[in-house]
């Protein structure tokens, strides 16, 4: 009998590992790819060169009026006029909120940032309590801070809210409210009880079938016509309800997709242990399904975050709307590129942050080793 002896591991062939190996396989694997790589490098280089030249080297950063942005002989700007963003920054962030009360928004944003940081960073002590605080107590604090009317704070009507604050309020409330409603709708749509299932299906198919703009118009223009005179509902509240209704229908379908991916055996094993429906869903099915749904859910969150700018058509001034009105100011000619770039950057930064966090979360929750 001969003994089984495994062969020793040999090193891989050269030029297939490390930086050079990566470049070879990905960028210069054959002559066509080499040409495409060189063309791409040329155009990307040009774009970067233009932006550095326009946006940094020739740009003006400090000052307070348009005269701080120098012009050349033809009367054109030399570079980007970031002075404009600087001068209007407070308005972009706080909208028309009274100057003397801006500390309230800052305090609210400060608490919010701390909460989110605490939830995102690993190893925060008492994370469960922080989550409860963020979800249930913080919204109350935030409401009274922003709206006032109690605890000796002056009332600031919602029509004075605007800018990035408004964008955040719309997005965060929309996200936080639409996920649980979406989960309930998805469970309802998969329920064996015909009435609950029908209600869920009708709700989802109705709200998914109409454009968000229509929903917002309905909420702001049509709804008051049906109300008895004098029962004025706040315009922001109506827009928020519209957004939540709309997004929860989308969320429901994302959640349903995740639920369908959970094998039947998981339901059966939970039932065989004697778990009730809600325990089975809460302990076994949803934790697994939500993990699978992270890409879809975050995708919906990101879409919602950007969709909030549609509220400008019903006269709410979110970040985009306030910037658009700012660039029509005759005191600041030709600053639209700077303005749009700033808005784009703000939206991008937040969406990219959500996206990165979701990827980290997926890695962290991956325990299946499949």
């Amino acid at each position: 009998m001969s003994e089984f002896k495994p062969l020793p591991d040999l090193p891989p062939p050269p030029n297939t590992v490390g930086a050079i190996g990566w470049l070879r396989t990905n960028l210069f694997s054959n002559w066509l790819n080499t040409i495409l790589t060189l063309i791409a490098i040329y155009y990307i280089g040009q774009a970067i060169f233009w932006f550095v030249d326009w946006g940094i080297i020739n740009a003006s950063f400090s000052g307070s009026t348009k005269d701080d942005c120098p012009l050349n002989a033809e009367g054109e700007k030399l570079g980007a006029c970031w002075v404009f963003i600087n001068a209007r920054f407070d308005q972009f962030i706080y909208g028309f909120y009274p100057d003397s009360e801006i500390w309230r928004i800052n305090l609210m944003l400060g608490i919010f940032t701390l909460c989110i940081a605490g939830l995102v960073i690993e190893g925060t002590p008492k994370k469960n309590w922080l989550a409860v605080f963020t979800l249930f107590i913080f919204p109350i604090i935030a409401f009274y801070l922003l709206h006032g009317g109690r605890f000796g704070l002056d009332t600031v009507d919602t029509h004075k809210w605007g800018g990035f604050t408004l964008t955040l309020v719309l997005a965060v409330v929309g996200i936080v409210a639409s996920l649980p409603i979406g989960i309930l709708l998805a469970l309802g749509r998969r329920s064996e009880m015909p009435i609950i299932r029908s209600i869920s299906i009708v709700y989802i198919e109705f709200w998914r079938g109409v454009p968000l703009i229509t929903v917002l118009f309905m909420a702001s223009v049509m709804l008051p016509l049906f109300m008895t005179a004098g029962t004025e509902t706040d315009k922001l509240a109506r827009a928020l309800i519209g957004i939540i209704m709309f997004q929860s229908a989308y969320m429901a379908e994302v959640v349903r997709g995740g639920l369908q991916a959970i094998p039947k055996g998981q339901y059966e094993a939970a039932q065989a242990l004697g778990l009730s429906y809600w325990k089975m869903m809460g302990l076994i099915v949803l934790p697994q399904a939500l993990k699978l749904m992270i890409p879809g859910i975050v995708n919906t969150f990101i879409a919602l975050f950007k969709d909030t700018s549609l509220v400008l058509i019903i006269g709410l001034f979110d970040l985009l709307a306030i910037m658009q009105s700012a660039i029509t100011d005759p005191n600041w000619p030709r600053v639209s590129v700077e303005g749009y770039l700033f808005v784009a950057f703000m939206f991008w930064a937040f969406c990219f942050g959500m996206s990165r966090y979701s990827q980290a979360l997926e890695r962290k929750l991956n325990t299946s080793y499949r």
Partner: protein, 255 residues
């Protein structure tokens, strides 16, 4: 093999199926199933695929609903009453072909879930119970791993421990070794034999005829949704009465 039981136990009917019928749509999958299982009895159900053997045991803990006839488990009739269904499921443990462990929970959490959330035991006590049974199935050192990190045989043993943590009166096995690599079948069968020796009432759907010979009190052969033949293992394997049983046995015992 110890078969002696106390007189009181031997006369206690644990599971009773009376004229149980079930249809999938218009397909008549169970036809007049009558079965009585005493406390401490070990039943093996065999038969070709599609014969209704899995469906029969899945009816016993209401993973499938029967449409006619009566099923009584430990004195509790299985009706549409959710309370009865819940109490039956608490008394009946089930082990599945594909283990169905919860992949997002550790082995220990898989085992403590039922005791904590169904039996309302405090976490510490539940963990002690879980470790006791994980030791019995010989994998206490894997308690903090996730199911995906274990081999198939280990996963199935965890699944057995998970059911035992609920201290069930009856254990149902639905082809527990069919999804396993040949190298791992023995470790699961050993666990089941050990469990049988402890006096657990067991119903096993399995094709492991060796297991049936050593462990079962009675072997039941099913085909086309009916119980064709039922006898104690020696008579069943050496002197089958029905032609269909003879054919089945000749096919599975020839190698």
């Amino acid at each position: 093999m110890t078969t002696e039981k106390t007189a009181a136990d031997a006369h206690k009917v644990m599971i009773q199926l009376k004229n149980v019928n079930k249809w999938y749509g218009s397909f008549h999958v169970l036809k007049d199933i009558n079965l009585e299982v005493m406390k401490g009895e070990r039943i093996v159900i065999c038969g070709p695929s599609g014969s209704g053997k899995s469906t029969t045991i899945r009816c016993i803990n209401r993973l499938e609903e029967h449409q006619a006839g009566d099923i009584v488990v430990n004195g509790i009739p299985l009706t549409n009453d959710l309370k009865n269904i819940d109490s039956v499921r608490r008394e009946v443990g089930m082990v599945f072909q594909h283990f169905n462990l919860f992949p997002h929970l550790t082995v220990l959490q898989n085992c403590t879930l039922g005791p904590i959330w169904v039996r309302k035991k405090p976490q510490k006590e539940a963990e002690e119970i879980a470790m006791k049974y994980l030791e019995r199935v010989k994998i206490p050192n894997q308690a903090l791993k996730y199911p995906g990190q274990l081999s198939g045989g280990q996963q199935q043993r965890v699944a057995i421990a998970r059911s035992l943590c609920m201290s069930p009166e009856v254990m149902l096995f639905d082809e527990p070794t069919s999804a396993l690599d040949p190298e791992m079948i023995k470790e699961v069968l050993d666990t089941m034999i050990q469990l049988a020796e402890s006096g657990m009432t067991m119903i096993c759907v399995t094709h492991e005829m060796g297991f049936a010979k050593t462990v079962a009190n009675r072997v039941i052969f099913m085909d086309e949704g009916q119980i064709v033949e039922e006898d104690e293992p020696h008579a069943f394997f050496n002197n089958p009465q029905n032609e269909r049983t003879k054919l089945f046995l000749s096919q599975i015992l020839q190698h």
